[in-house]
């Protein structure tokens, strides 16, 4: 494979990881100041800061490889929805299923369940990426792994607490997992993007991580007295650029100031 082709593979893979981190950070940041209890508001913001930090490192490396005028900010602010490579799971509003333009209350249970499902993936993923052939990615993985472990521990504890809490909190957590679980199918599908990254020794084959993820999910849900819903039906394809109706709203808000002032320095 030529150096340029490899660069493209690495860039795409970095963007996939970076978009995951940024899009989830954007969703989680909507809770800042309106969380259910001050300590957890701050804890979530901590994790959001970690995710934002990961996104920046990944974008910086992608921009470096891309060269030209690319920066972490051109990648975050001047790409449209079809160019984003994040899992659809991460762009959904923090609510039970509803269309993008039907506004409604946010649901802490959905946020918690999502953070749990995602960090349960990222712990083994970052672990494996520590040996990526692309050294800068391996370094980012080592740093991110520590953060993801904390995110997973924190989310697991709360899933257990609320799953095995009141009847209402149990029902809400169950509804959140019922809603989100089908979206996790996207984790295990092979994409051209990931396939190429694996071939180049840069990325990890996601399906190899499924046993670890399953074990984490099963153990936590069991302790939380929650039923593990089946993951079936439509398999989302966000990492190939095919998103839900929600991402374009998220990006319109996130990018509006930057795009109103192209070329400005902040």
């Amino acid at each position: 494979m030529s150096a340029v082709a490899t660069d493209t593979v690495v860039i795409d893979y970095l963007l996939h990881l970076g978009d995951n981190a940024l899009v989830l950070a954007q969703r989680n940041s909507q809770w800042c100041g309106v969380g259910p209890v001050l300590e957890e508001d701050l804890a979530l913001t901590n994790q959001t800061l970690d995710l934002l930090g990961q996104a920046r490192l990944l974008y910086q490396e992608a921009a470096r490889l891309q060269g030209g005028d690319a920066t972490e900010d051109t990648l975050a602010y001047f790409r449209d929805a079809p160019a984003f490579r994040n899992y659809v799971l991460l762009e959904l509003p923090a609510s039970l299923p509803r269309v993008g333009y039907a506004q409604g209350d946010m649901d802490w249970g959905v946020t918690l369940a999502r953070n749990f499902l995602y960090s349960a993936l990222m712990v083994p993923l970052w672990e494996a990426l520590q040996t990526s052939a692309h050294a800068p990615l391996a370094a980012i993985a080592a740093k991110s792994l520590k953060e993801a472990r904390y995110h997973l521990r924190h989310a697991s504890e709360w899933v257990v607490r609320l799953g095995d809490g009141t009847e209402e909190s149990h029902q809400r957590m169950q509804a959140a997992f019922d809603h989100l679980m089908p979206y996790t199918q996207e984790f295990w599908t092979d994409s051209a993007l990931e396939h190429a990254a694996v071939q180049a020794g840069v990325g990890v084959a996601p399906v190899a991580l499924k046993p670890v993820w399953d074990a984490t999910v099963d153990a936590t849900l069991e302790e939380a007295t929650l039923h593990r819903p089946s993951a079936e039906g439509y398999v989302p394809q966000g990492k190939t650029g095919l998103h839900s109706e929600h991402l374009s709203y998220l990006l319109a808000e996130m990018q509006c100031v930057a795009r109103a002032h192209p070329g400005a320095v902040w």
């Binding site: 940024l22 954007q26 940041s29 909507q30 800042c32 100041g33 309106v34 969380g35 259910p36 209890v37 001050l38 300590e39 957890e40 508001d41 701050l42 913001t45 901590n46 959001t48 800061l49 934002l52 930090g53 996104a55 920046r56 974008y59 972490e72 900010d73 975050a76 602010y77 209350d105 946010m106 802490w108 249970g109 709360w158 257990v160 607490r161 609320l162 095995d164 809490g165 009141t166 209402e168 909190s169 149990h170 809400r172 808000e253 996130m254 509006c256 100031v257 930057a258 002032h261 070329g263 400005a264 320095v265 902040w266």
Partner: protein, 312 residues
């Protein structure tokens, strides 16, 4: 009476009162009111800046803003803890906020209307807060004084970040400079009012001075703030919206215009542009979060019961 004399003597000698020490009931009540107001201000103060987190125009600024708003929440936590040492629970204090019986800083009842507001809040609002708070680091009540030392350190950092944000924007496009000037125009007078009514009209000050809770008068602090800020505005290249603002060589201070106290009191009394939105948001967040708090409590209870059964 002996205890009261010893208490006052300790304060006069610049000593610290600690939670286990005897203190007059009025001193305790005054401190609870002041510390909890301050805590509520930190928590409500998350909202106007929180308004720009999802729209921050660069990832670096987004991270800085997120960390800053988080710090404010952290300050709220220290301060609720400091208040709790005086024999009140956080739940009671929050109930006072949400029912409208407790106040919070009125400055947070104004809207944040463009991205430069984030910088101006750091520079001017935090700047004014620091001016108010530095004397509190020497407050006679130990837990409050120690909380304020930590808070002031962080606030100074926020202030520098805010000023730096504005410097960057002022070096940018004409639209960016215009945004900064617009934000300064909207916030300047509100910040001067943050020091409270003129000394001639201030109610609580005298007793608070004697108790070592307040150490410098409203008007003195306001003057200090103006004197410190005018040169910074010049460096920045913005105009402060006060035609009467002028160096007075005789006083060795800047003279400045008249604050609109009617508007100030209207806002303090619940009728500012955002009072209802701020409180409505806190109430909704608290109500929407009830199931989470209750779930966690129920789980902790179950865990205790299980441990108890195992032990038995």
């Amino acid at each position: 009476a002996d205890k009261l004399a010893a208490f006052q003597a300790r304060i006069d000698a610049d000593g610290r009162i600690e939670p286990q020490d005897w203190m007059p009931e009025a001193y305790r009540r005054t401190l609870i009111r002041q510390i909890s107001q301050h805590a509520h201000s930190e928590v409500v103060g998350m909202l106007p800046e929180g308004n720009w987190i999802t729209r921050a125009p660069s990832l670096k600024r987004k991270a800085i803003l997120l960390a800053k708003v988080q710090d404010e929440g952290g300050h709220g936590l220290y301060l609720y803890s400091a208040a709790e040492t005086l024999g009140v629970t956080r739940a009671e204090l929050i109930e006072q906020l949400l029912s409208g019986r407790a106040k919070y800083s009125s400055i947070f009842n104004y809207p944040t209307l463009n991205w430069a507001d984030v910088g101006v809040i750091g520079w001017l609002v935090d700047g004014a807060a620091i001016m108010n708070q530095i004397p509190l680091c020497r407050c006679s009540y130990g837990p409050y004084a120690r909380a304020m030392i930590r808070i002031c350190k962080e606030e100074s950092f926020h202030q520098r970040q805010g000023y730096e944000l504005l410097l960057t924007m002022m070096r940018g496009t004409p639209e960016q400079r215009q945004m900064v000037q617009d934000a300064v125009n909207r916030w300047w007078w509100k910040c001067l009012a943050m020091f409270g009514p003129p000394d001639s009209a201030s109610v609580h000050s005298e007793q608070s001075m004697r108790w070592g809770i307040k150490r410098i008068s409203n008007d003195e602090l306001r003057q200090k703030f103006v004197d410190a800020t005018v040169p910074q505005a010049e460096v920045l290249g913005v105009t402060l919206p006060d035609p009467k603002l002028k160096w007075n060589p005789e006083r060795g201070h800047y003279d400045f215009g008249e604050i609109d106290w009617d508007e100030f009191w209207q806002t303090v009394n619940g009728h500012g542009p955002c009072n209802k939105e701020r409180l409505g948001t806190r109430i909704k967040a608290h109500r929407d979060g009830a199931w989470v708090r209750e779930g966690a409590l129920a789980h902790a209870r179950k865990q205790r019961e299980r441990a108890h059964k195992q032990a038995a």
